[in-house]
């Protein structure tokens, strides 16, 4: 089996937002919608204050709460763990947006482009009326992953089969790979470092892991 997951090394992330820009360029999301975000968190109180850069987005959960509430079956989970949205089925009820504790889903009511009425090349390529009035989110660049696997490439290792955010990360903070493969990059990172997942108490089983210190727990 395969279980694709993302690992973000919080020690390495410098908050440059290159992943954010790469995602925006690749997916041509409407203004105000961002699949890969990096939050700038402030932790502690003066004078003991730290900034933490937190890459976030769809966590591709083991038990996606968005899938459970979706009345139209538009939200699905593939065998490899990637959670997708069938835009031709979605009714735009927003129940999934209310169910996602990671604030990873968005919806827009009208077609809009970054620079007014004129669409850029990437926006023209991705323009699709089916994306208006329905839920949208990160899908781990499933088109790149599938195309890469079809060519015999390894997602997370071969750039052409790897999500754009990971591909573009300048500090080596973002990693993508197969958790079911004990020799994959993500499996090794999780075995060698201490990690957490967000809102683990909710039982969603996020497929997005954060490294915060060296050494196994």
């Amino acid at each position: 089996m395969t279980r694709y997951a993302m690992v973000a090394d919080l020690r390495r992330c410098v908050g440059c937002q290159t992943c954010t820009a790469a995602c925006k360029e690749s997916r041509a999301t409407p203004p105000g919608v961002q699949f890969r975000r990096v939050l700038d968190l402030e932790v502690g109180e003066y004078p003991e204050v730290q900034r933490v850069f937190l890459p976030t987005g769809c966590q591709h959960c083991d038990e996606p709460p968005c899938l459970e509430v979706c009345p139209s079956t538009a939200t699905r989970k593939r065998d490899d763990g990637i959670v997708t949205i069938d835009e031709s089925l979605c009714i735009g009820c927003s129940a999934c947006i209310m169910a996602c504790p990671y604030d990873a889903r968005s919806m827009v009511d009208a077609q809009a482009f970054a620079y007014g009425d004129e669409a850029m090349a990437n926006e023209r390529y991705r323009a699709n009326p089916d994306r208006i009035g329905v839920a949208m989110k990160c899908d781990f660049c499933v088109d790149r992953v599938d195309a890469g696997v079809a060519k015999g490439l390894v997602p997370g290792v071969d750039p052409a089969a790897t999500p754009m955010c990971v591909q573009s990360c300048i500090s080596g903070a973002l990693h993508f790979g197969d958790l079911d493969d004990p020799d994959s990059n993500v499996s090794r990172l999780l075995a060698e470092n201490q990690s957490f997942r967000m809102h683990e108490d909710l039982g969603t089983g996020p497929g997005f892991h954060y490294l915060w210190d060296k050494g196994a727990l």
């Binding site: 968190l41 402030e42 932790v43 502690g44 509430v69 009820c93």
Partner: protein, 298 residues
Amino acid sequence: MRQNETARRQRNWDLRAAGNFIGGGSGTGLLIAAALATLLPQAGPGVAVWPVLVGMGFVMMGLGLVWLEIGKPWRAFNVFFHPQTSWMTREGFLAAPLLGCAAAAVWFQSAPLLWLAGLLAAGFLYCQARILKASKAIPAWSHPRTVPLIIATALAEGSGLFLLLGAAGSRTMIALALAAAIAREALRESYRRGLVQAGAPAGTLEWFGHPATRVLQGTRLLAMALLLAALLGVAGTLSPLLAALGGGLAAIGGFGLKIILVTRAAFTRGLRIPFTPSRGRGPTAAVLPAAMLRQGKR
């Protein structure tokens, strides 16, 4: 250590969505009250026409508003595709039989059909409450005490409207409306305490002290006082008037509660980290969860 708040108010469900919960709650509450009224010893044969028709109207209004809310209204029938886990699908499945049974109960003046409609209404109402509870992004909705609060609110609205629509002379129905209103207040307080204990976002908790919330609370307390006065018969022949007025205020208080719950107090959970990363000279630190920060820990 504490982390800055990242919770924000949800922007996707507006007054139309609140109207769905108002219509569904009041409509089903009214149908349940009408069904219960047929069991009273003094009840005549047949069913009360206007309460059932108004109850159906409320349910249809709620469904109509949610239809206006969704992004792809012409695909609305896709709502029926996921009964395995979706409470929205289950609510959709119950809507047609509920309205059909209620209409048939009026047409045939059949109490048994109205009981069946009341049962379906209870199921519809439970689905609505579970739709909110399944919303894990919104702590004010996903808290387990949301379900009894929504159900009690619907019963208070429905039984109050039932008095307003002609049953204000029945002491039993006045007692039922008063009991529902008291239960709603008790469950609301329990719900508020539950949210505080669970460390709900500050934006949510602030709404419990907001002036609009206070006014609504005053409205509901006045409704209870009027219902109690009517039940005790302190106003003599004016007691039915007090009961009708109290019932109407009980319903209005419920509408306001849902508008605030859905559109104003609905803050997201926000993103939180349990540990800071080790970088540079500083050590790592555990970041306290919101519930512990609410208890004054730093």
